[in-house]
C-alpha cells in the first residue's frame, strides 16, 4: 500500500453529487475519503463497485476506479475483479435494497468465501432512487407507497445474518458521524478478508421515520463498553439483536483467524492474474493432448 500522504483534494471527483441536500450519502462519501486519506490509499489503488440506487452513484463522486453496475449485482463483479487483480483494494458500496433485497444471495455467499473485500451498505431503510418504496430493512409497519397499511414482514437483521453466514468483520456506522464511520471503514479495509460495514444513512426525502434525530437519540458506540469483546461471537449475537431505545454502532465482530479466498488459490501466489503471460506454453498444451490418446 502507498505510504506517501494522500489528501482529500486528491480524491476530489470532477462530478458533482446529485444527491439531495442533507442526504446521508454525503456523510458516507466524506467518510470513505477520510478512510482513504488515513490509510494513504491512492485513487488508482482502489476499485469501487456499486449497484443501482442513490448511494450507488458514489463511485462517480470520488476520484478512484469504479464500476456502477446493476441493482443488487456489485458483489460478484467485485469478486471476479479481485481474483483478477488482487493487489488492488476492492470496495463494494451499495444500498440496502441492493444487498439485503435483490442481491441477498450474492451477499450470503461472499461471506463464506472471505475474499479481501470491504463492503459498505448504505442502509437508509427505504428505496430512495425509485421514490420511497419500503426496503428489506424497513421497520415492521413502515408505511410507504407499496405498503400503504404498513409492512407486514420483519426487517432483515444484517448484523445477525452476517454473523451466521461467516463474515469475519462486521460493523455498523452512522453517516451522521463521518469521523467514526471513517474509522470503521479504515478498519474494514485493513481487515484481511470480507468486511461488512452497514451504515445508517438517513434519507431525508422518503424516510420520515428513521431520521438523523431518530438515530442520534438511540445509537451508542460499542467501543464505549470496555467489557465488549468483538472476538466473542455470542456477545456479537446478542448485540446484533439490540434494537429500540438503544442501538449499538461500531465493530460487532472480528475474526482474524480465517484465511482469505485469494490466499487459498495457488494461481494467485506469485502475481495478480492479469499479469500472467498468455497463452500458456505450447509444451504444456501439447502435454494435454496426450491424455486423450
Amino acid at each position: 500500500m502507498a505510504t506517501a500522504p494522500v489528501t482529500m483534494k486528491d480524491l476530489q471527483s470532477p462530478v458533482e453529487p446529485t444527491w439531495c441536500p442533507g442526504c446521508g450519502d454525503y456523510g458516507i462519501l466524506n467518510a470513505v475519503k477520510r478512510a482513504m486519506v488515513q490509510l494513504g490509499l491512492r485513487p488508482h489503488e482502489v476499485f469501487f463497485v456499486s449497484g443501482i440506487g442513490c448511494g450507488s452513484k458514489l463511485p462517480d463522486y470520488i476520484r478512484a476506479n469504479g464500476f456502477n453496475s446493476l441493482h443488487g449485482r456489485p458483489v460478484p463483479i467485485a469478486q471476479g475483479f479481485l481474483l483478477a487483480h488482487h493487489d488492488m483494494k476492492v470496495i463494494v458500496v451499495d444500498g440496502d435494497g441492493d444487498n439485503y433485497g435483490i442481491g441477498g444471495n450474492h451477499w450470503l455467499h461472499i461471506m463464506r468465501r472471505n475474499p479481501n473485500i470491504t463492503h459498505i451498505v448504505q442502509n437508509n431503510m427505504v428505496y430512495g432512487l425509485t421514490k420511497g418504496q419500503y426496503a428489506p430493512t424497513s421497520m415492521k409497519g413502515y408505511v410507504s407507497t407499496t405498503s400503504p397499511e404498513g409492512t407486514i414482514e420483519w426487517p432483515v437483521n444484517p448484523i445477525a445474518i452476517a454473523l451466521a453466514a461467516g463474515a469475519t468483520f462486521i460493523a455498523r456506522g452512522f453517516s451522521g458521524d463521518p469521523k467514526h464511520l471513517a474509522d470503521l471503514i479504515a478498519k474494514g479495509i485493513q481487515h484481511k478478508g470480507y468486511a461488512l460495514i452497514d451504515v445508517f444513512q438517513p434519507c431525508v426525502i422518503f424516510n420520515r421515520v428513521n431520521t438523523y434525530d431518530w438515530f442520534r437519540e438511540r445509537i451508542y458506540k460499542l467501543e464505549d463498553d470496555p467489557n465488549y469483546d468483538p472476538h466473542d461471537r455470542n456477545a456479537a449475537w446478542e448485540k446484533a439483536h439490540e434494537w429500540g431505545d438503544r442501538i449499538p454502532i461500531g465493530v460487532f465482530y472480528i475474526n482474524e483467524e480465517v484465511p482469505t479466498l485469494e490466499e487459498q488459490i495457488p494461481a494467485l501466489a506469485e502475481k495478480p492474474l492479469y499479469q500472467h503471460e498468455i497463452p500458456p506454453k505450447v509444451e504444456d498444451l501439447e502435454a494435454l493432448k496426450v491424455a486423450f490418446m
Binding site: 485513487p43 464500476f67 460478484p76 467485485a78 471476479g80 483478477a84 492474474l273 497463452p279 498444451l285 486423450f292
Partner: protein, 595 residues
C-alpha cells in the same frame, strides 16, 4: 467379410457403466488406427432407467452416428427390447445367458442371438460381477476379432493408477476369458470385423466440450466462473481439472447470475474469462449480458443447449435457443454469436471467441448442445494447432496497467475509456495504473465512463451509434459467411448451423453417392454477418432446405428476418434426440414435395 465398417451399441441401466465401457471401447478402437464416432443417450437419473452408448467405426473420418447397428451389446434385458429393431440383418445381439431374451425374435429379424456367460465370467474369473461390462466389451471384441491388446491397454489406463493394478489384472483376466469364449462361439457367424491399421498415427479421442476447453486454454483464458448445468458441466469440470497445470482461476458461483458477473469483473481487470451454462442458466445471465454490452466488457459465454421449455429434457439435445440468444437482454447492444459444428471447430471457434470479444469489446456467445458436447471422435493431434491459435491471439485495443511505457504513450493526450472512434472501439486500459483512474457505468455514460448526469440526447445518440457501429465493422472485417460442403452446383442445399453439421454432411455424402446432387451450407458465424453476401449465396442455390433441431425453424426465421428469403422447406427435429443422416434423408422425401 466387412472390414472396419461397423456400429456397436451398448445398452443398460444408469450405473452399469454403459458410457464408460462405450468410451473405453471407442478409445481402444481408435488406438488401433481406426476412426470412431461415439454418441451417448442417458436419462436424467443416476441409477436405473435405460442408457445407451453407440460406437461407429470406419477407416475414414466419421461425423455422425446412424440408427442402424451391427452388434448390440446388452447389459440388461431391456436393451434387447428397446434396440433389437435397430440391428441389421446378419447382425448380432450379445447378452448374458442369464437374461430372459426372446432369441426367436432376434432370429426373426435375421439377426444372431449371442448369449454369453458374462456374469459368470465376471464373478468366477474376476471375482466381481461388476466386471460384467468388461466381459461384454471383450466379448464384442472377440466377435469382431479385434486385437484384445488394445482393450487391455485401456483397462490398464483406467484402473492402473486409480484402483491399484490388481483390479486391472482381474479385469484383464475377465476380458481374456470373455474374448476367447465369444470368439469361439460367434466370430465365425459374424461378418463384420475390426482390424488394426498397421503403424497408424496416434489420435486424440475427444468430445466437443473437451475441444472447447482446449480452445479456451490455447487462447489464454485464465478465469472461469460457472454453475453446474448439463450439458455444460463437463466443460466446467474440465476447466476445474486444469487449474493447477495452467494456473487458471475457476470458481463455482452460487448461481449463473453470479457466474457471468464474476467473469465481467475479471474481464474488466483485463483477464480472458468465460462462463458456461445451458438455457436455464443463460436465462439468468440475460440482465448481466446487457451490462456487458453497455460497459463494453469482453466476456465469452458458452451456451450448451438442451431441450426446453423450463427443465424440459435435461440430458438430451436440441437447438432451441438461437433466437433467444440473439435477442437476449434488455435494450440494444452489440454481441457476437458463433455456433461451431465440429469438434475441430469447437477448438478454433472457442479460441476465436476470445479474440472477437476483446477486439470488439463485447460479449460473445458460443453455441453448443448436448449432442456436440458429448459426441466422441478420433482426431489427429495436429488438427488442434496451438501455435496457430497463439499466433492469432488478438486482444484488440487493450493495454494492461503494468505495461507502463505503452500506457504512457497512449494517454499522452488524455484517456477516455469510451472515446468516440471511427470503428466504435475505444482503447481499453483496465484499472490499476496511476495515471488511468476512471469509473464506468451500466447507466448511459460519457466517454469518460461517468454516468451522464445530464442525460443529454446528443451523448446518448453518439454512444448508441458507437456501440452498434462495432457490429458493422465486425461484420465487414471478421465475421465469416456460411460455408459450403459438397459439390458447387447442387439441386438441393441443406442449410444448417452448429451441431447439425455432422449429420447433414453425411446425409449429403450418402445422397450424392446415390446419384443426387446436394450440398450443405453451414453457419458457424450467426451474428453479426454481411447479409448481402449471404443473400447472394442463397439466391444462387437452386433450392434450399433448412435442417435444425427445434420446432419453429429458428435459423430459417433468422435468415428470413435478415434477407427476406424464405427456405423452400425446413426439416426439424425436437424430440430431444440428435439428428442423423437417415432421418434427414427420409424427411427430405416428405418435404421435397414442397420444393
Amino acid at each position: 467379410m466387412v472390414k472396419n465398417d461397423v456400429a456397436f451399441k451398448l445398452g443398460g441401466e444408469a450405473g452399469q457403466g454403459v458410457e464408460s465401457s462405450g468410451m473405453g471401447f471407442a478409445k481402444a478402437i481408435a488406438r488401433a488406427g481406426l476412426y470412431i464416432f461415439g454418441v451417448q443417450d442417458y436419462m436424467s437419473r443416476i441409477r436405473g432407467g435405460h442408457n445407451w452408448y453407440q460406437v461407429r467405426v470406419a477407416e475414414r473420418q466419421l461425423y455422425s452416428h446412424e440408427p442402424a447397428i451391427q452388434l448390440l451389446i446388452a447389459f440388461d434385458e431391456r436393451t434387447v427390447e428397446e434396440h433389437l429393431s435397430e440391428v441389421v440383418e446378419g447382425g448380432g445381439v450379445l447378452y448374458d445367458e442369464g437374461f430372459k431374451v426372446d432369441a426367436e425374435a432376434i432370429k426373426a429379424r435375421g439377426a444372431i442371438p449371442m448369449p454369453m456367460p458374462l456374469l459368470k465370467i465376471a464373478e468366477e474369473v474376476g471375482g466381481n460381477k461388476l466386471m460384467m461390462n468388461t466381459a461384454a466389451v471383450a466379448a464384442a471384441a472377440g466377435i469382431v476379432e479385434f486385437d484384445l491388446s488394445y482393450i487391455e491397454q485401456v483397462i490398464r489406463d483406467n484402473f492402473g493408477r486409480r484402483k491399484g493394478s490388481e483390479i486391472a489384472d482381474r479385469n484383464i483376466r475377465v476380458a481374456n476369458a470373455a474374448y476367447e469364449e465369444a470368439r469361439k462361439r460367434y466370430a465365425h457367424l459374424f461378418e463384420w470385423k475390426l482390424e488394426a491399421i498397421p503403424n497408424a498415427p496416434k489420435r486424440m479421442v475427444i468430445n466437443g466440450n473437451q475441444a472447447l476447453g482446449l480452445g479456451a486454454l490455447a487462447a489464454g483464458c485464465k478465469f472461469v466462473a460457472s454453475y453446474p448445468m448439463t450439458p455444460a458441466s463437463s466443460l466446467f469440470e474440465f476447466m476445474c481439472a486444469q487449474t493447477r497445470r495452467f494456473g487458471i482461476v475457476v470458481r463455482q458461483s452460487e448461481d449463473e447470475i453470479s457466474g457471468l458477473l464474476h467473469c465481467i469483473g475479471a474481464a474488466h481487470a483485463g483477464v480472458r474469462a468465460f462462463a458456461c451454462t445451458s438455457g436455464g442458466g443463460f436465462s439468468l445471465m440475460v440482465e448481466s449480458l446487457s451490462l456487458a454490452g453497455s460497459t463494453e466488457t469482453p466476456v465469452v459465454i458458452v451456451l450448451a443447449q438442451r431441450p426446453g421449455p423450463a427443465t424440459g429434457l435435461p440430458t438430451r439435445t436440441g437447438q432451441e435457443d438461437l433466437l433467444f440468444a440473439l435477442h437476449a437482454g434488455h435494450g440494444e447492444f452489440p454481441r457476437a454469436v458463433l455456433a461451431p459444428g465440429t469438434i475441430e471447430q469447437c477448438f478454433y471457434e472457442m479460441a476465436r471467441a476470445f479474440n472477437l470479444a476483446e477486439k470488439y469489446q463485447m460479449p460473445v456467445i458460443v453455441f453448443t448442445d448436448n449432442f456436440l458436447a458429448n459426441s466422441l471422435r478420433a482426431i489427429d493431434p495436429d488438427a488442434f494447432d496451438f501455435r496457430k491459435v497463439a499466433s492469432e491471439i488478438d486482444r484488440g485495443k487493450l493495454i494492461l496497467p503494468h505495461e507502463h511505457e505503452k500506457v504512457e504513450q497512449a494517454i499522452a493526450n488524455g484517456y477516455r475509456r469510451y472515446e468516440f472512434t471511427d470503428d466504435g472501439i475505444s482503447l481499453r486500459i483496465p484499472p490499476g495504473h496511476p495515471k488511468v483512474v476512471y469509473s464506468v457505468a451500466g447507466e448511459e455514460h460519457l466517454p469518460e465512463g461517468f454516468i451522464d448526469w445530464e442525460e443529454t440526447a446528443d451523448n446518448r445518440n453518439k454512444m448508441m451509434r458507437k456501440r452498434m457501429r462495432k457490429l458493422e465493422v465486425a461484420a465487414q472485417n471478421d465475421m465469416r459467411p456460411p460455408e459450403f460442403y459438397g459439390p458447387d452446383d447442387a439441386d438441393i442445399t441443406f442449410v444448417c448451423w452448429g451441431s447439425s453439421y455432422g449429420p447433414v454432411r453425411e446425409a449429403v455424402d450418402t445422397l450424392n453417392r446415390n446419384g443426387m446432387r446436394t450440398n450443405m451450407l453451414h453457419f458457424v458465424d450467426i451474428h453479426p454477418l454481411d447479409w448481402d453476401r449471404v443473400t447472394d449465396i442463397l439466391d444462387n442455390c437452386r433450392s434450399w432446405v433448412v435442417v435444425e433441431s427445434n420446432y419453429t425453424g429458428q435459423l430459417a426465421r433468422w435468415i428470413r428476418m435478415n434477407t427476406g428469403r424464405k427456405a423452400d422447406a425446413v426439416i426439424s427435429k425436437y424430440d430431444g434426440r440428435p439428428l442423423n443422416p437417415t432421418y434427414i434423408i427420409e424427411h427430405l422425401q416428405e418435404v421435397l414435395v414442397g420444393v
